[in-house]
């Protein structure tokens, strides 16, 4: 029997709120700073969203304008700088292209393979599954160097291909879908065969529709991992800025601007972090269920 405001509950809430403050701290800093003018940032004033007092834009002044012409509102200035100092839209687009391509290709390769492992008897099937399990153990960071070399030899660095190709086979995806496919009744597949479906048709018309939850879980896992991936693009995109993915773009932004221009930098960080966070907030249940599903399997 627990009262709403029992000491136990209060204590638990207290601890959790403390934790929440620490957890949310950087988010707060990020958003708040993106709203502030340089002066406010330097002095740490301005409240949560900055006082939004107009201030003279230094670049504009340097270009010869006078004070009144160059007045800008901090938040607008920060965010517009974020988009103009570096091609942020381009980076976001790259993020979408790369993440979507990776997921689509992963599905096209993993689903048939998972079906074969789950439902078709062929010579070497057990060895094939053992191979998949073994590959689960290989962390991609370990093979980054040789993969980079192979791509460099092929002249493929600085290309979408380099960003996408190494990821298109996902041992995890194959494993997850196979576990799920094993739960589809064999009778259903036999009926489909009698109805005239070839093996390929069976995969896309019968297996996949019944495995949507698993596919969704995998989608979440894949999209989050690849949208936020910094290591591989850092290695493989060595010169062509137009191919930067969002994390790379942010990093270059930071490098370019030196240490001073925190307002626009925080604005960029916000823009990059926002898509996934918003998606997460809108569909929390799905995300958490998906992660749990992939984890428990």
């Amino acid at each position: 029997m627990t009262y709403r405001f029992s000491t136990r509950q209060t204590l638990a809430h207290g601890l959790l709120i403390l934790g929440a403050i620490i957890v949310l701290l950087p988010f707060y800093v990020m958003i708040s700073t993106s709203f502030k003018s340089p002066a406010e940032i330097a002095t740490g004033t301005g409240g949560v969203f900055g006082s939004q007092a107009l201030f003279p834009d230094p670049t504009c002044l340097a270009l010869g304008g006078n004070e009144t012409e160059c007045l800008v509102r901090p938040v607008r200035d920060n965010y517009s700088q974020a988009f103009t100092a570096a091609p942020l839209w381009r980076y976001l687009l790259n993020g979408v292209i790369v993440t979507a391509s990776i997921f689509v290709l992963q599905t096209l390769i993993a689903v048939p393979a998972a079906y074969a492992l789950a439902k078709l008897k062929f010579w070497g099937r057990d060895a094939a599954f053992a191979l998949v399990l073994f590959c689960l153990l290989i962390p991609v960071h370990a093979i980054a160097l040789p993969l980079y070399l192979m791509l460099a030899k092929l002249g493929l660095t600085n290309s979408y291909a380099a960003l996408i190709l190494p990821w298109i086979v996902s041992a995890f995806g194959i494993f997850l879908m196979r576990q799920f496919f094993m739960t589809v009744p064999d009778d259903l597949i036999d009926a489909a065969r009698m109805d005239g479906m070839g093996e390929f048709a069976i995969i896309w018309r019968v297996m996949l529709p019944t495995a949507i939850p698993a596919l969704l879980a995998f989608a979440i896992f894949s999209v989050v991992a690849h949208w936020n991936d910094y290591f591989w693009p850092r290695i493989v995109i060595t010169g062509d800025r137009s191919l930067f993915t969002p994390p790379l773009g942010l990093r270059e932004f930071k490098g370019d601007l030196g240490g001073d221009v925190y307002g626009p930098m925080m604005a960029s960080a916000t823009i990059i972090a926002v898509p996934l966070v918003v998606a997460f907030l809108l569909a929390q249940r799905r995300f958490i269920d998906g992660i749990t599903l992939s984890g428990m399997k």
Partner: protein
């Protein structure tokens, strides 16, 4: 003749008769064809590179140079004797040793606390899971700003404590005079700071896994324990909850361990392996040596070492799981 026949036949036929073949053979063929792309790609993208890395680790290859020399074990010897490599191993192991226990236990603690609540469970779940979703790089840069010695909110807030009883703590008093630490710029603090960020980013994930694990603990066990006289929370935890979470814990520890071995983003963006190589973790070393400095042979050797570490952990997990942890 059925009345349906005429209707069905009025619709034109399109089918092709398939080649005669036993159904078992047909399926076996389909199976191999469907798995083939994955097989080729798995070997090409995951297995061949491992072999290539192993081979290259015995050479002094650099990208762009046409000639390549076999150097045997020299790269490995360099690793085990060179001072910066010792620091590499120390940094990596220390980082893992800091992050894994903290992240696992915070995850467990959060899960237990949240489960005990009457209200607000999904709020806290969401909040604690946010760091996992947000781009680590973006958040790392934000943390860097937050930890800025003068502009950052952390030191600013700490400075507010100057002049209060907190000064009884000698470290605090000293910092009030000398200035609070350069969290990322100080050799003594950098790794701990990175570890903190790593913990911050990962414990939410562990929390979710523990929450799922907790729901699978059979409630009847708690009832039986009550009847047996087990009353207090700590006893219940020790007797039932902790053992039943065994498989979850193994999984969580393994995942966190492997993930923390792979730390790169924060190091590359915030400390570049310094100061004084105090944060010179393995993956960063591979990047610096193998790619930035184009010492591919050396980079490959570190890669193999890294691979060995990870495989060891994974295999140990499997052994441990089979033997000790599954009660059901």
């Amino acid at each position: 003749m059925s009345d349906l026949a005429s209707l069905t036949n009025s619709v034109p036929k399109q089918q092709r008769i398939a080649r005669p073949e036993r159904p078992e053979r047909r399926q076996a063929r389909a199976g191999m064809v469907l798995f083939a792309p994955a097989l080729v790609l798995l070997i090409l993208i995951l297995i061949v590179p491992v072999g290539v890395a192993a081979l290259l680790s015995f050479t002094d290859y650099t990208l762009g140079r046409p000639s390549i020399d076999w150097v045997g074990l020299r790269n490995y010897i360099d690793i085990f004797t060179g001072s910066s490599y010792r620091k590499m191993i120390v940094a990596t192991v220390l980082y893992v040793a800091l992050v894994v226990p903290a992240s696992v236990f915070l995850g467990l603690g959060a899960a237990l606390l949240i489960r005990s609540l009457n209200v607000g469970q999904s709020f806290y779940k969401t909040v604690y899971f946010l760091p996992v979703m947000a781009s680590l790089l973006a958040m790392a840069i934000v943390w860097e700003f937050a930890l800025h010695p003068t502009l950052g909110i952390v030191n600013r807030t700490l400075a507010m404590g100057c002049g209060t009883p907190l000064e009884l703590w000698s470290w605090f008093a000293r910092s009030c005079i000398d200035g609070f630490p350069l969290w990322l710029g100080d050799r003594d603090y950098a790794l701990y700071t990175l570890a903190f960020i790593g913990i911050w980013q990962s414990f939410g994930f562990n929390m979710v896994l523990y929450l799922a694990g907790l729901t699978s603990v059979p409630n009847d066990l708690y009832g039986a324990a009550s009847m047996d006289g087990v009353k207090r929370g700590w006893e219940r935890f020790r007797l039932i909850t902790w053992p039943m979470l065994g498989p979850t814990t193994v999984f969580v520890v393994t995942i966190t361990m492997i993930r923390s071995f792979q730390v790169f983003d924060t190091v590359e963006a915030l400390t570049h392996g310094g100061p004084a190589k105090s944060t010179y973790v393995m993956i960063y070393a591979i990047y610096e040596k193998g790619i930035a400095q184009n010492l591919v042979g050396l980079g490959a050797a570190i890669t193999i070492l890294f691979l060995a570490f990870v495989m060891l952990i994974s295999v140990a997990q499997r052994r441990f799981v089979e033997r000790k942890v599954h009660y059901q």
